[in-house]
Symmetry: D2
Subunit: 351 residues, 4 copies
């Protein structure tokens, strides 16, 4: 298992690197009979694509998706769906400056150590462009979940130390930070523009809420719903941590505070974050992830080259000063993939 | 997939609940020719078993392991190893008080919703006793890793808000909290004893350090080494979060601070926590997990019963006021399982 | 993946060798709420155990099964079921004569080449005793299938060149050959007794019929229902071939003969054997397997020892002169495991 | 698991149907550093493509392969390789005659029962065109195996009852039947042309020989090498049986005849077919498969339509009167995929 597949009953396999011929995904196990168009997928990809605002990278990636199989007369047939996005810009010459050195914070060193060979063009397989396949597959999962009454919403909770004071989900798509608080969003954007000027970048926190999940979803033991969400989120290169419900705050809480009591109307609090024993409680599922500052910065940094000599490196142009706004749709996609898979797994158990 | 298996090339399947006939594990894919005795496994299980000190539950679990297959003349044969621990105490009558209600913080409600049936004796499959199988399998993984020069060490970093000031790994097994700082350990223990008196419990943070991992271990994309560690840790019922390296601190850092520069001697910092792009850098792998306060407390709590009526519940006796000391060997076991599996997966890739 | 697991949504993992502590199986993904007792499993194991008649090996294997987990108040809970059979006779001294040589037809040579170590006691993991775990798990699958209206029936169709003239399933359990024709059974038994006298053995053909399977079961492409049945059957050490429906006869047939026409009452013939394109048609599923003559014979044979010298070997006592009667319940078990798994997989697809 | 993936450590996922946008495969787990060009893959695809001779279908499929990922500067990088073949001819109108009925021998009925929806254009996913992805992936496996000294050769052994008298592998690619005997090939071809005239088709037998496999390859128990080959072959829609080594002949043999004796030069016979206990012996691996006569014939047949009425059907033009010559490269591809995967799995076990 080389790790490019995800899920059991709803299973995706991604392929592609930033400067190969294409990136994309094969989805196996899609419920037959679902109406599905390229537009359904494209609208999610458009939330991920570069160049959406003045604070994302202006790179001109071609994020146009093509549905190549598994669809007949506008409906899914239950056979594998190939979603493919062609890479238009495959120039290698741009990368001469970095081909023989290890950019700090990038996977250059680790890929070379693992494979003995490295596609240095635009980070190769380690490029954020790999997530386009995830978002495309997530769009299908989201559509299936919508039929179940399940919705997934993520947003920037904090960036560079600036935090949302209130959560207003209606503003998420109305500000370039995809923050849930308009005032905070403006401060964040100002900070991010400052980073651009300084040739630097900044990290943040993304929060995700999943609503409408019935109780009983998730496999106990190793495939706990929160364990699978954690794997899904940490499988994003920029993510350094995840917490569910009370999260790290639980470490200084007492059991009598942390346990969520119940009454006839249901749970009276949600420290569990909607999951107990790996299985959904029926409450909102809520988790937060730590997003590191983008590794690609134009400030000069110290590193070594493949010959082992110390060199200086600046990553020129074209990078996101804060990845949060563009990781939001990826987080939603990964969460949707986990949920749809586990709904199907429950059917198999009882089926 | 019902979720009781973990790993690909080194694969375990656990079974058992707290009051069935036995708990344990089958390990498939063990390197043949490894010397392995019951003692190798027992010594890890003894670190997990109850009744180790005055601040763990005094329950008399029989944690004696039996090696039932896959061993010949003291060596592994490469065929599946069954490690089994029989449950001695299978009395059901103790559980009459809780059989018809949902204990706050426990998986009683979610199991019933998922399965339509619930083994209420001692939390059934959701019991911490399930982790005995993990620790047993982890002991085998640890022994294989030792031959690779890899060691895994976890300890209590904080409990109830009291934090280790220094990290001295030599004291971990010398204090009942398994803390890495003797002075902090004493304060933690005092707090925990106070919790016992109050019929309450407290959470904490466990940190884990993995040393000796060569660069190049881990599959990129979905099976990133950190993603797999995250899944492994969140698959423990008490864990509410994980962070790798810089963790949640990265959210307010700049790229120029966070990127780990390199010189001819290697990496100059380790914000990455030993993993970049899902692959080991060769630096120490370090992560922290948030451990919730034990759900079983003797303080009276509000809940409902299966008939939907509001009731009060107290969980009588026999529970850990802080689970950190006993989760430490489980964390090490799960980390070892992930690492051994990924070492083998690298061999397959190049093989 | 070391190959001791089988199935996806209904998944088993077997363990054990003939002279270790135990053999058995863990089943994960069992539908919760099924009434299940040790007797349900034991009755299938009794059909597989040695010493059933004068033409099976008189070995005294202890085939008593113990249900160790996953059951509560007589019902399955949906968590893993451990079914274990302890090995009573673990004497190694009986095997001194063979420990250093490669018995013809046995896996002695190949195991040593693969693992570099070999448990020579009673063929170790390659022993037919390993199939006890499969039969135990198959008993659970059969019970679930019975609720679906599906039955699985296998019988000896031929042995040593003697073939059933008619198929009368009511006589299968009434003759020691488990043949479907009483007259043929007597001739087969006579031949088999002759083999015992000659210190030799004989092969045969086992046929299996699965009834009540609704149309639509089976995944196309790699997990076709017939492909999975083929893997299941060839995973039995003694099986050298399988054919479905028309089988090898199809090689000299014309399309106009082979295609099964339909009318308003359904299919008019069943050359397909109940499966087209890997998916069940709703007709009876029928396949035949070729069973090689038992490798263990007391006639003297030529071989080499581990030092590379030519030696003679006789396998003393205690072996089946024809394995067909005892493989019949194993064939049924494996077929049942495949079917139950695929029923569940269909639920996941549409779920 | 919806069944479009195959293999563990060398894992493929196919996609596509005959009249969607494309067919192809993603390969994950390819050894990095292998020189790989489109030509390497194309030459195998050209052996599978239609229109090779007067006795294959004259359909103009576009079998031109495109390498879209996982390659850098002519070498594999260890990341997923997408191999894609675009479908040029996507006209649906040709299929009006069959869209509402079930063609005998085809998967029309079973797909509709399984999915509730059916892509009737050219058999959809059940089309033989799906095997193009397998052949493409198999070409990569073959190249890796060549570096191990392993070769895979298949040929038509019999067609319509005409059998090769001798096996001369040098003539396989020199006759349109891909038979291993020139004289037999001519008789077969004459018979096949007769079938074309009659609007009928004929079945056959394909034999495969794998040479150079070292002893020790294959996982015992469920993933036996022969079990995996059996699954691989029966996963081809036209295959109704498989036999390894002695195959069905073993059913009337004695143990003293069937067991392969050894002397200092190795095995003295090969009834085992190169595999004992699921593990390679180092001898040639040899198996035969039964290939049914092509279902698509132009003779009039009886069937029913989706409304349940009896109708007549003729499949017009464009079909192979005997599929053997074109299935030969597919058999080789599937065998190569199994072998390469198991070589890698052995590395993981010892790694």
């Amino acid at each position: 298992m080389a790790g490019s597949s995800f899920g059991h009953s709803f299973r995706i396999t991604t392929f592609g690197e930033s400067h190969g011929g294409a990136v994309g995904v094969v989805i196996d196990g899609v419920t037959p009979g679902l109406e599905l168009s390229a537009e359904d997928v494209q609208k999610e990809l458009d939330r991920r694509k570069p160049g959406q605002s003045d604070i994302t990278t202006p790179r001109k990636e071609t994020d146009e998706v093509h549905l190549m199989s598994g669809i007949f007369e506008g409906k899914t047939t239950g056979t594998p769906i190939l979603l493919i996005l062609y890479n238009k810009d495959q120039r290698s010459q741009d990368y001469d400056a970095i081909k023989n050195l290890f950019r700090p914070g990038h996977a250059d060193f680790t890929y070379l150590k693992k494979y003995g060979i490295r596609d240095y063009r635009g980070s190769g397989r380690a490029s954020g462009r790999e997530t386009a396949g995830r978002v495309a597959a997530g769009a299908v999962a989201k559509k299936l979940l919508a039929h179940r009454g399940v919705s997934v919403t993520a947003y920037t909770l904090a960036a560079g130390g600036i935090q949302c004071d209130t959560i207003d989900e209606s503003v998420i798509e109305k500000n370039p930070m995809r923050a849930a608080d308009m005032a905070a969003a403006e401060k964040m954007a100002a900070l991010v523009r400052q980073m651009v000027d300084q040739g630097d970048s900044v990290g943040g926190i993304v929060e995700c809420r999943i609503r409408g999940v019935k109780p009983g979803i998730g496999e106990p033991v190793f495939d706990k719903l929160d364990a699978e969400l954690a794997r899904a989120m940490l499988s994003l290169g920029a993510v350094k941590g995840i917490e569910i419900g009370s999260g790290f705050n639980c470490a200084s809480m007492k059991g009598s505070e942390h346990n969520d009591p119940m009454d006839t109307t249901g749970f009276k609090s949600n420290n569990a974050g909607g999951i107990i024993g790996g299985i959904s409680t029926g409450e909102e599922i809520v988790f937060r992830i730590a997003v590191k500052p983008t590794s690609s910065i134009s400030k000069e940094q110290n590193t070594v080259n493949i010959q082992g000599n110390e060199v200086k490196v600046k990553t020129e142009g074209r990078h996101d000063p804060c990845i949060c706004p563009r990781i939001v749709p990826v987080v939603e996609a990964m969460a949707a993939l986990v949920l749809e898979d586990h709904y199907k797994r429950l059917e198999a158990l009882h089926g």
